[in-house]
Amino acid sequence: MYGLNLDWEIEPGPRTCTLEDYKGAEARWCPGCGDHAVLNAVHRLARDERWPTERTVVVSGIGCSSRFPHYMSTYGFHGLHGRALPVACGIRSRRPDLDVIVITGDGDCCAIGTAHWIHAIRYNMNLTVLLLDNNIYGLTKSQTSPTTRFGEKSNTHPKGSFFASLNPISVTLGIPNASFVAQTIDWNPPHLYATIKAAHRHQGTSFVRILQRCPHFTPHVFAPAQQDLNQVLLMTHAEGIQLEEPARKLFPNCVEHDPRDLAAARRLADREDVYPVGLFYRKEGALRYDEHTATGIDFTPQQKLDALNRILDRFRI
């Protein structure tokens, strides 16, 4: 496919299949940090689905969460604050054979990266985007993020934020061509795993907001919902995220929600009394930009040269 060296296509060889095979450097997040849970889920999914490490690329920005790629044994791109998505789209643009996972934080994605987030959703290339939302800037030591709740204190708003917090789900649902929008929590491994799995299976940009605990700076933010799963609302549906029965039973609060119903998804997204988890919305047949960006990757050098000569000749004197 990429020219002369096609061996890897012909002979895949034995695939990696233990958790260890997917582990990179030792994770350096605080004990109890929700990022560990997400990493575990991704490691397990990679193992279960036998991702080829050499064709998986984990792309991130800058933040605690964006250290993620270092803790994987795949290819990784730990780039600039807020700019994971353009890089991921660029990788994907001409390499449809690569599996691209994006890890971003609430500052990374919803503050400095806002423009790329909105447009990546619109492009709907085949990416799995995991937004690790701890409602705070972790790495830079506690500043208000766009998702920080009104009144929450941080180092930049010592008396409490005076902003209405941004709802990444409601914004994403406002973008035409959004094709997969889900929410999950780091403290329920089965749901976390099932959601990431469904997102990864989805063809197009899957956007998953993970409510992520930051015991270091915002221990209290998700603690109530962790202690009391009543504050979490499980969205269930045959078309949604599928949980095994034992796992499902842990959620006292459920609502049947058809992820094809955008209006209902938006209403659920707006709820402030509970954290809805599961699949808000999935759209079939959304336009896929990467169906266009890769056109021509199979041209042979000679084809290119011939075409170029034809074009050049239009400029002949």
């Binding site: 990429y2 020219g3 060296n5 096609l6 061996d7 890897w8 990179g24 450097a25 080829p52 490490t53 050499e54 064709r55 690329v57 984990v58 800058i62 790629p69 270092h70 994987m72 044994s73 795949t74 290819y75 990784g76 791109f77 730990h78 780039g79 600039l80 700019r83 998505l85 353009p86 890089v87 660029g90 990788i91 994907r92 643009s93 001409r94 390499r95 054979d97 690569l98 423009a115 790329h116 909105i118 447009h119 960006t293 890769a294 056109t295 021509g296 990757i297 041209f299 050098p301 084809q303 290119k304 040269l305 075409a307 170029l308 074009i311 050049l312 000749d313 400029f315 002949r316 004197i317």
Partner: protein
């Protein structure tokens, strides 16, 4: 080709009122929207195809939709033609065709006319229903005569009415016919060109335009006594003609670059327009991003994944790409960045030429960001430097900035048709297994060069990072690792420099004054130097293509001249103005670089007119300096 030329000269034999000229500068100016630009572009291309040397410059109005008959609205083209290759736009026009008298004033303000310039002026305004227009016109004609132009009032609009109901939209083709007659072009060639150009618009359009064209041609042959003949040279090799942005686009394709990731910005955008219209034929793709940051990020992503990419922009876009450029340096990501310079700072003069982004290219990124910076000096080089830049980006594993400018971008020039070869194309992405013992930054301790694994290569899995890192791409904060990695990245420039040849001197290898330039000023500087040498001055010039690293041998070359100075289209303080002293004077950008690197007292003459520097202006700027140097030389030899 050769047949066309033969026909052309056959045609000219039947006319005896043809004045042979070696070169001529023609301008055609109209209100914006009246099509003088199309006319000028076509005339330029036709002259090139007729075997003339050609250089064109667009005359671009300052406003989106300027009012009719206003100075601000002047739109058109300057076409300098000659028997020999033409290397710059020259000084004053020999012949101007103007659709109204006000746009002539705009050209007068720009210093484009001189006593003796032939001025063909549409006379429709003499009979305009509006008396104030009539009198403006009459006054202007008188004024033009007083200024010594040779004014011919010609019935453009009146003539056009024979062929079209809306003469405002037809004049330009009639004038094209007129110019073809004035310069004795082969009408068969012209007809073919016109038919081709309007092919997509259908037969009716072609016929109407042909009628206008023939009308203008016939009228001129009958009515205009003094016409010109430029002896065409049969070029030794096949030639092409195009503008610099087309050359960039073609060069990108010839380099095997697969992706152009951009955000629109004048004067860079037309390169992407051209690419968008043809790129798919070579399997390439244009990505228009949501902003310049995303544009470079997308290109960097593609490059990380093994596909060479280019991002094209201009000053304000370069500013926004600064941070990602730093990442490309830090993580050694190959990338070609084309900057088509325009007038700055800030939004500045978006459609006008300046060479103001040199220092920002070298030093824009915070921290130490050694990168390669090139500047093509001709449209031909715009093509070839794309192949060069891609290879350098990959070989030296980092960003390569290519500085073009608004003048190259929109000017047209014929040059030998390149013969693209397979070896110019980027090699296919290597997907063989990677030896896991080789780290992703296996810096050669001497050269700093290393090979990179690309996703898909088994065993090469690594995490690219913009943090300080060791050769395994592991984040590292140790002093020694940081020092070493910086050394490795910087070393690459010295290695590249060691592979470069000292630049050639135009003129004698020693003398009183050496003029150093870069970018699109090549032709104007060399023409100025040639003129001064013809006057007997001991002046030479040298033109740099590599700005980072600087080409070698400069101190040795400089040492053979009494004085060295740069001529640039960017800002420098002019000595003698209030508060400007040695020590506080801010130098032109290349002069600043050369001074720091060579410690030679490199002077500069630089201006920011928003237009190319005419060779005559350079001559006028250099002559007093040469006089002063000569005086000093004489004083020295007296006292010696």
């Amino acid at each position: 080709m050769s047949k066309e030329l033969a026909v052309a000269s056959g045609f000219s034999e039947h006319r005896c009122i043809l004045l042979p000229v070696d070169q001529h500068i023609v301008e055609i100016v109209s209100d914006s929207g009246e099509g003088a630009q199309t006319c000028g572009q076509m005339f330029g291309a036709l002259c090139a195809k007729s075997g003339f040397g050609v250089w064109t410059v667009e005359i671009i109005p300052a406003e989106i939709e300027p009012p009719a008959r206003s100075r601000a609205g002047a739109s058109g083209n300057r076409i300098r033609i000659g028997s020999q290759p033409v290397t710059n736009a020259g000084d004053c026009a020999d012949l101007v065709v103007a659709f109204n008298e006000q746009v002539v004033y705009s050209r007068i303000d720009a210093g484009a006319l001189r006593a003796g310039t032939l001025l063909f002026l549409d006379n429709c305004w003499a009979s305009d229903p509006d008396p104030s227009i009539r009198s403006m016109y009459a006054e202007a004609v008188e004024d033009f005569l007083r200024r010594g132009y040779e004014v011919s009032e010609i019935p453009v609009q009146e003539q056009c009415r024979q062929y079209t109901e809306d003469p405002r939209r037809g004049k330009n083709m009639w004038v094209l016919g007129m110019l073809c007659a004035l310069y004795d072009l082969d009408m068969d060639l012209v007809r073919r060109e016109l038919a081709q150009r309007f092919a997509r618009k259908g037969d009716a359009v072609i016929q109407k335009n042909l009628a206008l064209l023939e009308g203008g041609h016939n009228w001129t042959v009958k009515q205009v006594e003094r016409r010109f003949h430029v002896p065409a040279r049969k070029p030794a090799q096949p030639m092409v003609v195009m503008n610099g942005n087309q050359a960039l686009g073609l060069g990108i394709m010839a380099a095997g670059i697969e992706l152009c990731s951009m955000y629109p910005i004048t004067p860079a955008t037309s390169a992407s327009h051209f690419l968008a219209s043809v790129f798919e034929q070579v399997g390439g793709f244009v990505h228009q991003a949501e902003d310049e940051i995303a544009a470079i990020g997308f290109a960097i992503g593609a490059s990380y994944a093994g596909k060479t990419a280019v991002t094209i922009t201009s000053g304000p876009g370069l500013a926004l790409k600064t941070e990602f450029l730093g990442l490309a340096v830090m993580a050694e990501i190959p990338l070609v960045v084309v900057v088509v310079q325009r007038g700055g700072p800030s939004t500045g003069l978006p459609t006008k030429i300046e060479q103001g982004d040199l220092l920002a290219s070298l030093y824009g990124s915070p921290g130490d960001s050694p990168k390669i910076v090139l500047a093509p000096a001709t449209i031909e080089e715009c093509f070839h430097f794309m192949v060069l830049a891609r290879k350098l980006a990959e070989e030296f594993r980092g960003p390569v900035i290519v500085l073009s400018d608004a003048n190259l971008a929109t000017g047209q020039q014929p040059f030998p048709r390149p013969s693209p070869s397979l070896s110019w194309l980027a090699p296919p992405v290597d997907q063989n297994d990677w030896n896991p013992d080789v780290p992703p930054f296996a810096w050669d301790p001497k050269t700093g060069l290393s090979k990179r694994p690309v996703p898909g290569q088994k065993g090469g899995e690594y995490v690219l990072t913009g943090l300080a890192h060791d050769e395994h791409s592991h984040v590292a904060y140790e002093s020694a690792i940081n020092q070493r990695a910086m050394e490795m990245r910087s070393r690459k420039l010295a290695v590249l420099r060691s592979a470069l040849r000292p630049p050639a001197v135009h003129g004698d290898a020693e003398g009183d004054l050496l003029v150093v330039g870069w970018g699109s000023t090549l032709g104007a500087i060399e023409e100025a130097v040639d003129r001064l040498r013809a006057e007997g001055w001991r002046v030479s010039s040298l033109h740099l293509r590599f700005l980072s690293p600087l080409e070698p041998g400069l101190p040795e070359i400089f040492a053979r001249f009494r004085r060295v100075m740069t001529v640039e289209i960017n800002y420098s303080d002019t000595p003698g103005q209030p508060y400007i002293e040695e020590g506080s004077r801010r130098y032109a950008q290349l002069a600043t670089l050369l001074r720091a690197q060579t410690l030679v007292d490199v002077d500069c003459w630089s201006r920011v007119p928003g237009s190319p520097l005419p060779p005559g202006a350079i001559v006028e700027a250099l002559r007093p300096r040469l006089e002063a140097i000569t005086r000093n030389r004489e004083v020295e030899s007296c006292t010696a």
